[in-house]
Symmetry: C2
Subunit: 434 residues, 2 copies
């Protein structure tokens, strides 16, 4: 049986998971791949730290040149993470003739066009199943399995950390800060969870999916996004009362006016598949014009789910399938592909959940309702409970669900409402999905 030599760059959690699969399940993978996959080098600055996998002698090295100078290595897995030095490392590996497998969504969202162009010029490939939704094979699904379809929409929960935090808040009535602490303690959230909870991570993944599904070369920074840090545990209770769960939803939807893209905490009707996604799971709901609605659910991150996707890419790469996807199916070229126009976010209509912190006195509801009316925003339902007895603030939360309204009109109305003397700072606006 032929042998394909490969290397891993970055020996952290995912890197040791990939090494474990390649070493401990060598025979199983060879049998299924039709080739032995031999891990010849693992590159990491830190040669001392103990990992839960013992590498054969001579495999661990601190020198990238051990890989770039070895012409027998056909593929390298980039698991360094972040932008630099990951970008330089990938370019160096491509120049030295290696095919790339990566789980780095930030790198692709930021430098995708540069890296893919360079790979094409050099006749190399980049595979990235692990970069979006971990163990869910969404890249292969959109890029290959659903190729006969015009994709019409993608609704996805792409950030497991945010979903874990929201689930904690919903199920255990935990406040936001405690839920974040719990996520950190369990290893779901980084010490600095900003990119996860502010929607950036989900926006980067959405940019990759939108590129694949709609040929949209969009800078992830231009995707309107709101993080889960605006969600209060009280919103969870009100949402439940109205029949909804709150999830950080990434949306790409093709409408006659263009492609709508956004990431935001969203009230999703209970009982629907997306509303039932709990804990650190991810989910993707794709609608194609032929296939209809397809739904995927699985672990979006973590050592072994991500390693599973990386190893599948490695097998595809050494078996030659990635080359066909990459070069021949021409997925990453915009040539001939009609450019997709992004729709102006302010004009995207939706239903909205609004929470105001208002003085507990007569006339307040009338003032707010008249401003909404002046902006042509119609009210679907209202919740206002009596103030709790031990609440000395003399304010109460007022919840308003709107009918369909353009987001811009709602934002304008909120600005005016925020100037009312009876309305205190900290109003919240979230999308609703029925």
């Amino acid at each position: 049986m032929e042998t394909a030599k490969v290397a891993i760059i970055g020996f952290g959690t995912i890197g040791s998971g990939v090494a474990r699969l390649l070493l401990e399940h060598r025979d199983r993978i060879a049998r299924r791949a039709g080739k032995k996959i031999e891990l010849v080098h693992v590159v990491d600055k830190d040669l001392k730290r103990s990992r839960n996998i013992a590498l054969p002698p001579g495999v661990l090295t601190s020198e990238l040149s051990d890989v770039t100078n070895d012409p027998e290595i056909v593929a390298a897995v980039e698991l360094v993470g972040g932008l630099e030095p990951a970008r330089s490392i990938v370019l160096e590996l491509l120049e030295s003739g290696k095919n790339i497998v990566t789980a780095n969504k930030a790198l692709l969202a930021e430098h995708g066009p540069e890296l893919f162009d360079r790979a094409r010029q050099l006749g190399r490939t980049i595979a990235f199943e692990a970069a979006v939704a971990g163990g869910i094979p969404i890249i292969a699904s959109i890029g290959e399995c659903l190729i006969a379809n015009q994709i019409e929409s993608i609704h996805a929960i792409l950030n497991g950390t945010s979903n874990f935090i929201l689930s904690q808040m919903e199920e255990n009535n935990t406040d936001y800060a405690s839920a974040v602490a719990e996520a950190q303690q369990r290893g779901y959230a980084e010490a600095n969870p900003a990119m996860d909870v502010n929607g950036s991570d989900a926006a980067q993944k959405l940019a990759i999916l939108a590129h694949l599904a709609f040929g949209a070369r969009v800078n992830w920074r231009n995707i309107p996004r709101t993080g889960i840090d605006i969600v209060d545990v009280a919103d969870m209770r009100f949402a439940k009362e109205l029949g909804y769960s709150i999830k950080l939803l990434a949306v790409a939807e093709l409408v006659p006016e263009g492609l709508e893209l956004h990431v935001s905490p969203t009230l999703i009707r209970q009982g629907t598949t997306l509303a039932e996604v709990r804990g650190a799971y991810n989910a993707v709901r794709v609608v194609g014009d032929a296939v209809g609605r397809v739904f995927y659910h699985g672990l979006g991150a973590g050592q072994m789910p991500t390693a599973s996707a990386v190893v599948a890419d490695l097998v595809n790469t050494v078996a030659g399938r990635t080359a066909i996807t990459f070069e021949r199916l021409n997925l990453w070229s915009t040539e001939g592909e009609p450019r997709v126009r992004l729709r102006d976010a302010a004009r995207v209509p939706g239903r909205f959940y609004l929470r105001f912190n208002v003085d507990d006195r007569p006339g307040v509801m009338a003032e707010i309702a008249s401003i909404l009316g002046a902006h042509n925003i119609s009210i679907a339902s209202v919740i206002q409970h009596e103030a709790e007895e031990d609440d000395a603030s003399n304010t109460v939360p007022l919840i308003i669900m709107t009918h369909m309204s353009p987001e811009g009109a709602v934002a304008d109305a909120l600005k005016t409402i925020g100037q009312l003397a009876c309305v205190h700072p900290g109003s919240v606006r979230m999308r609703v999905r029925d």
Copy 2:
């Protein structure tokens, strides 16, 4: 741009769906495939019947030889259905050098080894994504995306007709016969729905998945199966009362004693993803040792979802990816793959739902309970309602949920219980999944 010539054999519902995608979305598919896919022949005995797609002149023919004699045709889609003449047609097409795409699960479950061996000998390929779970890309997922995993279990709803009938019974309190009639009227069920409702269709699909996931060459007839025709609308109500939905579940599970395979109506705990699968949808839940649990949900049948899967296979075939999967990844060979031992069905433990039709008199419960006890079967819960006032039969349904027990012991106990004078014919036994 290069052109690949293809043909369709069988111009029924799916055939016209495939033709529609290839003709109406020619440019879109070419752009994504990197090749024009030209439909040069559609073969069907019936040249007169009107379909919802107009073929270019000269494309429709009644002669298979128009395809086999044309050396430029690289791939043919078999949509004849059934065993013969489908088997002979596929062999003839292979001999004439065509690669095959098929949606015919009966053909693969019955003649898979013969057809795959012949294709390999001739250097041709067979692609069959559309044969299992229609629009859900489960073949590519198990065969390629999850290749790094030892699959541990598959739990699937693979027959949309049965699921539609069960959903009608559950949601509208419709009796079994009316629900079947409704399914026929909507085009979900054939005039003779036997293969759908008796579990054969699901068993054929499960045999294909088990081959792919576990290398198990199992004859689908050897898979223990029970159909949904045993389910009464009363079972739906009792199941709901106990917190369950009833679904026709296909199970493949690797346990230390071997591979457990069966198809049967199963009580599934409400709120779980599988329990929420409604109407003509299919769903597959796969557990892999690295990836964990992955869940797929989509339309399992119907013209365009199936056509979507067929066209994806056609693109993979003309682009050369199928050849790598088929030849190089060696998926369909059992060489070197450890043979999987099927577990004796009688020893497979489970929880069971039992419904007896019993005389409405004292002592009955004690008689039944003592037989269950003698077979070492422990009772988890019991439902017995008072007889309805207008019921003159003087019998009542008695529902018993067991704790974990081997299926064989339960079957033995039921045989003995059936001989009791107080127990009337028509006892029902279903598996329970929590």
